[in-house]
């Protein structure tokens, strides 16, 4: 039957076949909403934790800039690789991309930053530059002098008897200002990133 010319002519004269042949359309070029795009602001307030900049693997892809009266992350296209790590690392949910935030909420995952201060006492001269440069120290004890001495026990670190002493490591925000100000390179800040999953109970969803 398939070899018959008449069969072919009848087949191609069918209404559905002609309709499909003339008006067939391929799918339009739409990107599904669950695809990870460039991160966009959700509208929540940026608290300037800068975790997005710390976690970003692409150089120069994200910057937190002061825009009028508030801080706001800015994504640089052409540098951003759309990995979505800034969305995951942000403690305040400022950015969104695809369905990362929904997945994190459903599975109870988060990225936690912690910071360790390592001081090489062989190199440290006890000059106190790191203590005075630290912006957290400045907020806690504005009276801290050039030598890094302080009578306040709440500061991150201070100079005692010519040596640097770290008191509250947990207050460090990982800005590395102390590293830049150290003349001998004795202080090092380690930024530690941990993936964390908290079991989500069925009733809480």
């Amino acid at each position: 039957m398939g070899l018959s010319l008449i069969w072919y002519l009848r087949e191609f004269a069918r209404r559905e076949w002609i309709k499909k042949f003339l008006f067939a359309k391929t799918a339009p070029l739409v990107t599904p909403s669950h695809f990870r795009g460039f991160p966009e602001p959700t509208g929540k307030t940026c608290q300037h934790a800068l975790f997005c900049m710390m976690v970003c693997p692409a150089p120069g892809a994200i910057e937190v800039l002061h825009d009028g009266d508030r801080w706001m992350p800015r994504i640089h296209k052409g540098h951003c690789i759309r990995c979505g790590l800034c969305v995951e690392a942000c403690p305040n949910g400022v950015l969104k991309s695809g369905r990362i935030l929904e997945t994190m909420g459903r599975e109870g995952t988060s990225l936690l930053f912690s910071f360790r201060i390592a001081i090489d006492l062989e190199l440290c001269t006890g000059c106190g530059n790191c203590c005075t440069a630290c912006p957290v120290n400045k907020g806690i004890d504005a009276q801290m002098g050039a030598g890094g001495h302080s009578s306040n026990d709440d500061v991150i670190m201070r100079v005692q008897k010519g040596d640097i002493v770290v008191i509250h490591e947990d207050k460090c925000t990982g800005c590395k200002t102390c590293e830049v100000s150290c003349p001998t390179g004795a202080i090092r800040i380690a930024r530690i990133l941990e993936g964390y999953q908290q079991p989500v109970h069925e009733g809480l969803q």
């Binding site: 799918a27 070029l29 692409a58 540098h79 951003c80």
Partner: protein
Amino acid sequence: MNLLQRIKNKVRARSIHVAYVDVGSCNGCDIEVLACLAPRYDIEQYGIYVHNNPREADVLLVIGAYTPGWEEKLGMVWEKIPDPKVAVAIGNCPISGCLFNRRESFVDAPVKKHIPIAAEVPGCPPRPTEILEAILSVRDSVFANWEESHP
């Protein structure tokens, strides 16, 4: 604009040849360009034919962060393409060098320094839809009224 010119514009915009050149990429964008050829995105439904011969090409897709081996060769490829021609940078690498553009690396990004780039598609890698949109957006403007603008 007379009727002949209008027909020429219409036909030219729907019959373009594309050549792609990889100036040192990680092959991620190459695979996305390849995906444009596959039935899901089907670049040929727009009259775009990927021929990979610069002598016949209208659009050059540049992929990669410009490694030193391409210093003289990319210009040669660009000169071989007959006018009217246009170059489109695909991915982050030809735009900024992205991950490869670090200290003590040998890449010489952006490609804009070496040949004129008409459109840039950011992304690492960009989606096939984005690559298609970029080619479709340049074809109308570049090939329209060529004889009148270049007597």
